[in-house]
């Protein structure tokens, strides 16, 4: 049996989905997981970093704006730059854009109200380290819970990320159609999640960790974690590194 993948879950003051991510990694998927304290610039040799949901620093000032200055974020940036997989969920996505690891910003929802509900998202790029367990165009049911998830970027950036295949997920109708009605927050292009150019950093507003425990009835979120596990395990297999990188790099640009 292969040794488990080691997930590092960053705990900022105000993180509140840290335990949920931990629960999924350890109890649901049987992997290893540790918490990474925001004041410690030490990633404890993890294979994957998760920036969990919540309200880091109360989201006072602007969501994610203060968290990016935490000591741990310098290490997370270094880790990402060296190709390590980083998953930012909800507030984690907001922190990644504030830290400049992903392009664009997350504005207040168009409704100006917090929204918590199950939504449908379509897998736009099944070749990222976070989506290989999904089929292209597959529709996942995963909940959102945010007040500021309205993805926005300037025209040129949108054009670039669309061209590069950096849009990982889009909000859609149950059948996969991209419609205005299925967009819960006003995001440009119904964007629900994006990756960086290199493909190793994913930010998404929906919460895959909330759709992973079979006891709660929805399990589509497991596919995001399963993809990461597969990615990490294949990467440490000798000879597989280049192969995976080649696949991700090429097929990522559809």
């Amino acid at each position: 049996m292969q040794s488990p993948v080691r997930f590092g879950i960053v705990v900022f003051p105000g993180s509140n989905c840290d335990h949920d991510a931990y629960h999924v990694c350890r109890k649901v998927l049987g992997q290893d997981a540790v918490f990474l304290w925001h004041k410690d610039p030490d990633l404890k040799d993890v294979d994957v970093v998760i920036l969990p949901g919540g309200f880091s620093y109360g989201d006072y000032l602007r969501c994610g704006a203060i968290a990016r200055f935490s000591p741990v974020m310098r290490e997370v940036t270094r880790f990402a730059e060296s190709g390590g997989p980083v998953l930012g969920i909800c507030n984690g996505f907001q922190i990644l854009v504030e830290a400049g690891l992903l392009p664009g910003v997350l504005l207040r929802n168009a409704s100006l109200r917090f929204a918590c509900k199950n939504v449908h998202i379509r897998v736009e790029n099944p070749f990222t380290p976070f989506t290989t367990a999904c089929a292209a165009g597959e529709v996942l049911t995963i909940p959102i819970a945010h007040g500021e998830g309205n993805y926005f970027a300037d025209e040129e950036t949108i054009h670039r990320i669309e061209e590069n295949g950096q849009v990982a997920f889009r909000y859609c109708a149950p059948g996969g159609e991209i419609t205005a009605d299925s967009n819960p927050n006003g995001s440009l292009g119904n964007i629900a999640g994006i990756i960086n150019e290199r493909g190793n950093v994913l930010g998404m507003m929906p919460h895959p960790e909330r759709a992973a425990d079979p006891l709660l009835g929805f399990t589509d979120g497991q596919k995001v974690f399963a993809s990461i596990i597969e990615h990490v395990l294949s990467r440490v297999t000798p000879g597989a590194v280049e192969e995976v990188a080649a696949v991700t790099g090429e097929k990522g640009r559809r």
């Binding site: 003051p13 105000g14 509140n16 109890k27 006891l215």
Partner: protein
């Protein structure tokens, strides 16, 4: 010890000043005799808040003590700690409690509701329990009023912003609308937490020389006199009390939660109490009185967020997100390090003394010197039994001549109107603004009869629900209160759980009015009777009087928060029909009682008649039957018949799983009943069941064993709810009416 003195510039205490503080002449006399001198201004402030209705329960405690407050699975009974503790097995206990924040929400809905959530959360985690679920019970005036829409918007945002940031899922609740709540909305918040046996903390100070620390936020001038404000009627002048409303900071509360639990786990916390109403005053006096000791407190050490605060202001501030901790001497640094890790203050402000006194000093002067026992509930705080007289309105409203009510011409149209009525329509507009999924433990997402929360520390589920039909209590306080207990228990039982304990929030008018006090006494008697039969002791709660304005008093509204325990969450039935071709059954008997019904109120504008009848023993048998049906895996669907009667219950079963609406075809035996009595009568002790046809005989056999009537109504399937010979309504139309109503009302401009 020298005699305490006023802080420079503070007025002398006089009877007039005492009366301005809400104390009576008799109470002021009592203070003079306790102290043997005129109190300092700070002392006057201290007595006035501690003897306010809000802190002392002076007009309610005598009645509350008649409730069953021990037994069952209770580990800590009502009034012993900040919240009751219930054993749920597997070495775990649940702390849960409900509390009101009505008055602040009436003048400042956002902060009023937010701090209501914050306050009840602190009551739970100060015991060492981690909050895992929160609920709220709300009452407003009609949604057609712009003031109501303003209040709804603010309250929902306040609850959402606080709870969402704090990271505890809001899993259930209720919202009702009636003009009687126009001036006085009710905002009741409930929190449920889990703690390992033996790991809970007590709100007791003890051990002479042990340091007393204040932890969390700094202290400002916000919320001064909040407790006193909550102890008077709402009026034009209430707007001026807006500064009495506290301001919440959920981020700090989240840090305080983590730091507090870590501190309690360290083993160096002797006692701890949150600071809610009356801040430092209440926590120092209650912790001292409980430990039969005293404290010496130096207010200069209290971290203040404003300059120039007086002793009076520091003692009465209700700044949020603070705790008072009694620490084992020699371990102060360890406790301080934990709070500093979470970027919170932890300052030593005094110590425990062997003497039964509270010495408060500030800027070199002693400003208060009091025996703590004289301040607290159960000690020297006044206890009153008020005059109770059955109010005359009952004779008028209880008379209902049903023959004068026209029978519906188009029952399908009436059903659609009821589905869109504010009291019945989906509260999705509200609950989607709450994070109901954080902590990934909410098994039955919003829309079930009760929320089912999965306890990750073990294998159990908790079913929780709040309920109270204020109209029933208005029409018949005793039976209405029994029904509030029964309905919450029935909702919990519909998930397969066994109801085990109750918390209550008693929202009433001015207790000095004999009619109001009679309602209060009767309601307490009703709650007590129901809880004794169901073996669900009352673990604690809150009383909110003075929910009155010059023009109106609210319906007496004793909200019940019920806790149930579920052994296997995978066997929990849902409120929705799950598949086509399932048998639909009805447990219980239909008598066609229309008094006090939603149908009469919403369709005919009539609030009259008596509350429905209730047989407590039959209810208990129904709960036992439901638990057995669930654990035997015989049923998929169980949904309580409540507001709107059997027709609304059936319609809800069809559409409550919005993505998977399923119709049903049923035949109802309406012998001797009007069609509205048959469809919309609100007879209690009835539950709609859905099961695979192979299990129908088994369900009927168990029902017979428990002495509960069981009738086959029909089957699920199709895309309409068909009640043969009476109505045929497409499920899409039912869904449209049910899900669209509140959102479209809220869209009107405020």
């Amino acid at each position: 010890m020298s005699t305490p003195v006023n802080f420079p510039g503070e007025p002398e205490s006089t009877l007039a000043a005492a009366q301005q503080h809400g104390l009576t002449e008799e109470e002021y006399g009592k203070i003079l005799s306790i102290l043997g001198r005129v109190p300092t201004y700070t002392e006057l402030g201290i007595y006035s808040v501690m003897w306010s209705e809000h802190c002392s329960y002076k007009n309610s405690i005598a009645q509350i003590k008649t409730l069953p407050r021990s037994g069952g699975r209770l580990l800590v009974g009502a009034g012993e700690e900040n919240a009751g503790l219930v054993d749920i097995g597997e070495g775990l206990a649940v702390a849960f409690k409900i509390e009101s924040h009505n008055h602040p929400s009436a003048v400042e809905p956002y902060q009023g509701a937010a701090t209501g959530v914050g306050g009840i959360m602190r009551d739970i985690f100060t015991m060492g329990a981690r909050p895992i679920a929160s609920l709220n019970s709300l009452r407003f005036g009609s949604l057609d009023s712009p003031r109501t829409r303003h209040l709804v918007d603010g309250v929902v945002r306040g609850i959402g912003d606080y709870g969402n940031s704090f990271g505890v899922p809001t899993v259930a609740g209720e919202v009702y609308f009636d003009p009687c709540y126009h001036d006085n909305p009710l905002v009741n918040a409930m929190s449920v937490g889990v703690v390992k046996h033996g790991a809970w903390a007590s709100a007791t100070a003890q051990g002479t020389g042990n340091p007393i620390m204040i932890v969390g936020s700094s202290t400002g001038r916000d919320g001064i006199h909040g407790a006193t404000f909550a102890s008077e009627e709402i009026s034009e002048a209430s707007e001026k009390k807006r500064p009495s409303v506290q301001v919440g900071d959920p981020f700090t509360e989240k840090l305080l939660l983590e730091a507090t639990l870590e501190a309690i786990r360290s083993g160096f916390v002797v006692g701890i109490q949150d600071m809610g109403a009356a801040g430092i005053t209440c926590s120092t006096s209650e912790m001292s009185a409980k430990g039969k000791c005293g404290m010496r407190i130096d207010l200069d050490k209290v971290p203040a967020r404003e300059t120039g605060m007086s002793a009076y202001e520091l003692m009465l501030s209700e700044s949020q997100e603070r705790m008072l901790v009694c620490v084992a001497k020699g371990h102060e640094d360890k406790i301080r390090a934990i709070f500093e890790k979470w970027d919170l203050h932890a300052e030593i402000i005094g110590e425990v003394i062997g003497e039964d006194r509270l010495y408060i000093s500030y800027k070199g002067n002693l400003v208060a010197d009091l025996p703590p026992e004289t301040l607290v509930l159960g000690g020297g705080a006044p206890v009153y039994i008020r005059e109770a007289i059955r109010p005359e309105y009952l004779d008028t409203v209880n008379a209902l001549d049903i023959a004068s009510v026209p029978e519906p011409v188009d029952p399908g149209a009436v059903l659609l109107a009821l589905m869109a009525a504010s009291d019945i329509a989906s509260k999705r507009w509200v609950y989607e603004q709450y994070d109901s999924m954080v902590r990934t433990n909410n098994v039955v997402m919003t829309g079930g009869d009760a929320a089912v929360v999965y306890v990750k520390e073990g294998h159990k589920g908790l079913a929780v629900k709040t309920d109270c039909n204020g109209r029933y209590v208005y029409l018949n306080p005793r039976r209405g209160a029994q029904i509030a207990v029964a309905e919450s228990a029935r909702n919990v039982a519909c998930t397969g759980a066994t109801p085990v304990a109750v918390t209550n929030c008693l929202n009433f008018g001015n207790p000095y009015k004999p009619g109001v006090y009679w309602q209060f006494k009767e309601a307490i008697a009703g709650i007590g009777e129901a809880c004794r039969v169901f073996d669900t002791p009352v673990t604690g709660g809150n009383v909110s009087f003075y929910n009155e304005s010059p023009t109106a008093s609210v319906y007496p509204t004793p909200v019940i928060g019920m806790l149930g325990v579920l052994d296997d969450i995978r066997r929990s039935p849902r409120a929705a029909f799950r598949q086509p071709d399932r048998d639909v059954l009805l447990l219980g008997v239909t008598h066609g009682h229309l008094g006090g019904s939603t149908y009469l109120a919403a369709i005919h504008g009539i609030v009259a008649g008596d509350a429905p009848g209730l047989d407590l023993q039959e209810e208990l048998r129904l709960y036992r039957l439901l638990a057995e049906l669930a654990s035997a895996g015989l049923i998929e669907t169980a949904h309580d018949c409540a507001d709107g009667g059997l027709a609304v219950a059936l319609a809800e079963c069809c559409i409550i799983d919005e993505g998977k609406k399923i119709g049903a075809r049923v035949r109802l035996d309406g012998t001797g009943l009007r069609v509205d009595q048959l469809l919309f009568g609100e007879d209690q002790t009835r539950v709609v069941i859905g099961c695979v046809p192979e299990h129908t005989t088994g369900v009927a056999a168990l029902a017979q064993k428990h002495g509960i009537a069981c009738a086959g109504l029909g089957t699920t399937g199709g895309d309409a709810l068909v009640i043969e010979g009476i109505l045929d309504v497409p499920v899409e139309e039912l869904g449209h009416a049910y899900y669209g109503a509140i959102a479209s009302k809220m869209k009107q401009s405020t």
